[in-house]
Symmetry: none
Subunit: 415 residues, 2 copies
Amino acid sequence: MRVVVLNTGTELLLGDVHDTHLAFIAREILPLGLRIEERRTVPDGETIRHTLAELFSRTAILFVTGGLGPTTDDITRDVVADLLGLELRQDPQLLASLKRRLEARGIKWTSRIARQACVPAGAQVLANENGSASGLYLKVNINPQIPSPHLFLLPGPPRELQPMFRAYVMPILRSIVQVPGSIERRLYKIVGIGESTVEEAIGEKVLAVPGIELGYCARPGEVDVRVIGEPHAVLRADAIIRNKLGLWIFSTSDETLEEVLVELLIKRKETLAVAESCTGGLLSDRITNVSGASAVFLAGYICYSNQAKMSALDVDPKLIEQHGAVSEPVARSMAEQARMCARSTYALATTGIAGPTGGIADKPAGTIYVALASAGSEATVKKFFFPSDRETFKELAAQAAFDLLRRKLMSIPIQ
Amino acid sequence: MRVVVLNTGTELLLGDVHDTHLAFIAREILPLGLRIEERRTVPDGETIRHTLAELFSRTAILFVTGGLGPTTDDITRDVVADLLGLELRQDPQLLASLKRRLEARGIKWTSRIARQACVPAGAQVLANENGSASGLYLKVNINPQIPSPHLFLLPGPPRELQPMFRAYVMPILRSIVQVPGSIERRLYKIVGIGESTVEEAIGEKVLAVPGIELGYCARPGEVDVRVIGEPHAVLRADAIIRNKLGLWIFSTSDETLEEVLVELLIKRKETLAVAESCTGGLLSDRITNVSGASAVFLAGYICYSNQAKMSALDVDPKLIEQHGAVSEPVARSMAEQARMCARSTYALATTGIAGPTGGIADKPAGTIYVALASAGSEATVKKFFFPSDRETFKELAAQAAFDLLRRKLMSIPIQ
């Protein structure tokens, strides 16, 4: 069944607001075997009319978001009624509940708001528990020659659309689909190797599995591999992917690398500290974004100046003098000193040259040392070269540092 | 001129990735008097072909994003060449630069990568300084009866597309538009007050200016106000906005609050340190994302545990015992100690309860103290209550802390 999403809203096309409905709807409907095959974004106004008219003729399920509010540019309801020749009737129940809602919030009643109680004849109202704009569902019957699409009109704000979708849209979709497809989706999140290496390792073999769909998505320091297909095909692809990429897969769900680390540390009742030079707080920030991080994350030392490396972490000034701040011995010392200062099980350290300025001949911008200190031996240090913009450099460095710890916690050899 | 954006990528329609190109392109082209009138998102594969064919006939400027990579699902280049009957030729210069790029990074050369050096005859290559997929520009000449659209093929990753767009696409657009429209857009970035307060202050008065378009965009701890219109109308709106919101406006360009701070500190030859508890490194991370930060940012102390507050910053254990770690005296001490340790001009400190767990009766989750230490007097402390999810809480706290420093540097009274 051809599923299309139509986002309406001038603010989307001006770049003031990012749409999140597409991603939300896509994930909700996939278990029903439904996939979005196209998304359109159009401004408020008459474009909505001809876009709807065009889509009605070649869509089985159409989700329209936005344009149900009380202001003058909210015209979706009217355009749909007009286009389909349906009368707009004021729903007394809806009107009463709108009045109650506004009263409870001390908001003044205006005639504009009353428009939100208007329903095209034959449409089903989808209650909005988080706002004043109700959703609407109707079966379009404009042309007897073509199958009638199912039309859902949904409010623009995500915190209104999402609960409405789960509570009222999903049950209707289930009755439309009847026998849900047996399609399955798996995700593999990979760290430590690049997109083309991943494809070389698994691409041909996975695509040789009949009925499998394979996709890649590269982010700084991470490649996401996605397979979609019938369960038995997905199972075959899964075996190939795990066999070829096992040690590089850090998650098969939607976790971040830092979520995986926090979970592992909690399980092992171990703790972490970080000493960051070039990553400037990104490691700490990402770790502390994870709920529960306070059980395992003890301290971060952001040593941007050499002075700070020496005073906060007691790194031997001679080491910096002799090898430079961006060097293997300094990275090692930072990790070991951070572990001592914070009394943690592990400590990660980064020292490098983010650029764009600050590179020197044998250490160009993009050079970075990552170190991991743990009990019983001296800290492991790895050197990387990530010539890129400042923020990407920091992301790549954070992924490399986190992967060092992941490998340690999973007892995977560090290459 | 009708401008359309076509996003390609199955990952977008599956909800794995959020598109950011629409917003970026919209903001870049508006000063040329250009606005995006439609956006479509289609999966990788043959849908691209008929969507392109359809759009060619009713578009003046078409931006296509994604599908230029080395993997098998990257087919944009091929589909365009095929559709327009253009030969794909390997560009020797491009091939050589690709090889150099991979060598520098120690990435293995594969034949798939060589596809990225293929250019449709007559197309202009747009250099990619941050990735291997070059962009392409060509004038489509498929039907002598209709004006030929300008076609831009751009890479999917934002960190590749954005610099390419600014460096190479904008100059071409300028030559296409020739006489840019006289439409103007101004942006006001506001910190310290919420969206409804902003609207109450300026909404009616600005909308009373004929021909003005007014928009708001609220982010955690920040409200962006946008006005669009003819220059004289924008000037009138500008006077109203500055008069009503002057002290809350931290930028009228696209700067972040941390960029404003780094710039001010550099000008004043002053330095900063931070002591972070509940913000967990976000302040440091944001500051060090700014190029040039190393001149002003000396050190960050991420004291997640009480132990770290005491050992790294020498905060008096009695203060913590007596008032609790989340308290005005501890926030003040953290800021003052961080300033002493790092020998910086200023130090910011945060201590609070991010939640969702950890709240207590008189200090519920969402409570936070922000402190600013500087020479000559004891540190200023402000208390806030930000009951929200973890990441939003951190963002709100960071904005509040940065605003404290901004007001100090601008000699604006702290309320």
